[in-house]
């Protein structure tokens, strides 16, 4: 087998490209630019941590089924963990988003990082919404019967029926989390590949 043939392989090209864009020292850095020194930077990793707790608590709820938390004290506690981790997730995510806006974090070829972040935010809203209508309690009855009018008015109600519990549960525990986690992964990889956006350049006044 010639080296040219190996060079042309899709696998070889993908590996080389990945290694070039994301070398180990970028993927798992041990230093970072000195300007990365503000509390605002905490909210990105806080969002990721809250997402991890959301998924872990969601796993436990999924293990026992959608009705478990109504009849079990432990189940209700796990549901509370799920709820509060979601609240922390959104709180941290919104601050992270505004922080990145005021840093103009799309500069220097980072616009796709911004775009994946916004799409992840919108996907997360849809994921949380389908969770609210899958609770099988008064909240889910009321929220679903109210929300149907907005969604139906767009025509989306034809294939996204918020009154269909089974459909909403599947969106909540399979489809939307999958999209959110993949997007989050891409977002983090882009941040690692491009690095944290540098400050705006400002002229130093002569003294």
């Amino acid at each position: 087998m010639s080296s040219t043939e190996i060079d042309r392989q899709w696998t070889t090209r993908l590996r080389r490209r990945a290694a070039r864009r994301l070398p180990p020292e970028k993927m798992l850095p041990d230093t970072q630019p000195a300007y990365v020194a503000s509390w605002i930077y905490v909210f990105g990793v806080t969002t990721l941590s809250a997402l991890a707790v959301v998924i872990l608590s969601g796993f436990i709820l999924a293990l026992k089924g959608p009705q478990w938390w109504h009849v079990s004290g432990i189940g209700h506690f796990v549901n509370s963990l799920h709820l509060w981790s979601v609240e922390i997730f959104f709180f941290a995510m919104v601050i992270h988003l505004w922080g990145k806006f005021f840093m103009a974090a799309w500069r220097g070829g980072r616009s796709l990082t911004w775009v994946t972040g916004v799409v992840t935010f919108l996907t997360s809203i849809a994921t949380a919404f389908t969770g609210y209508v899958s609770q099988t309690n008064f909240d889910s009855q009321w929220i679903s019967t109210q929300a149907k009018d907005g969604i139906n008015s767009t025509g989306a109600g034809s294939f996204f029926n918020v009154l269909n519990f089974g459909q909403m549960l599947m969106w909540h525990i399979v489809l939307l989390p999958l999209v959110a986690v993949i997007l989050t992964g891409l977002h983090v990889l882009m941040v690692r590949a491009k690095g944290v956006v540098p400050p705006f350049e400002e002229k130093v006044e002569a003294r």
């Binding site: 963990l81 840093m103 916004v118 909240d139 019967t145 139906n152």
Partner: protein, 313 residues
Amino acid sequence: MSESPDVKVAPWTGPQRPYDIIKEGTIAFIVVAILTIGLALVFSSPDDPQVTVQQWSTKAPIDFAQTALSELNGTSGTAQYGAPYNTASAGQQLGPFTLAKWLGATIPVNTVRDFVVDPLTDQPATPALSKALAQWKGASSAQRTTWVDAYTKVSGKMTFANGTVSVPTSAAGPVPVMINTLEQMARSGALDQALVTQNGFYTSNFTLPLLFLADGSYLGDLAQQRHLLGTQWGMMNETGNYPGQAWLWLYTFWYQVPPFSTSANADIQVWGIMMLLSLVLLLVPFIPGLRSIPRWTRVYRLIWRDHYRSQGA
């Protein structure tokens, strides 16, 4: 490529500082996990029990019977909804666009059949009910309308006593027996099952019972007591003193202000606005002017104050 400082930035060549990403991630996870456990222990989570048709018909029998009548005479919210449930109306429109109507009645609901006649047909037969259903099914459409209209005309004088719904008319054919039997069916709990099992033994689709519940006043009254109505910023709230979906504040906000608060097309208008705003947010890096706001406002000076101090800028 644009040379704008809102698009370009030179790669950093200045000093670096130590950074342990694994340690940072681990500490953040532990802190968030402890915070979550603390919040869950202190505040728990809301779980107001679901409302059943049995509960509704027991606590508000007249409201249930009036709603059943509205399903028969075609005045209920569902009966007049339009797509995706039926073709009774064009539905909401945004300018010339009637998006729901274009997609059609993809989740067909016939309120007479699905909420009244089919559940009654599933009931164990009694002579009175069998006779009433046979009379209804054998009648012409015009005759049915005459009966329902006669019942509707006196429905304001409807009473409920000793488990029976009564209206002062003898011109409504089988309708009084149908409404009264449906009421008794609901109060026994049988209607809850009948509404969800119309498509077989296994089901996870609650479209019919939820539409029926939403057509009555009972569910809305309970929601109002819990401050969950649309006019009370309801979409983003949940029962009890919990934050709910606070991230929907902007979506809910539009419903509180004119012209949306009084518009018949408020849903599609608000959705249109939110879709547009979401698109703008997505495309901020590419929109001149909007992408300059961070540089103009100089909030970044707070974020990178140590950097600028060290630079003497």
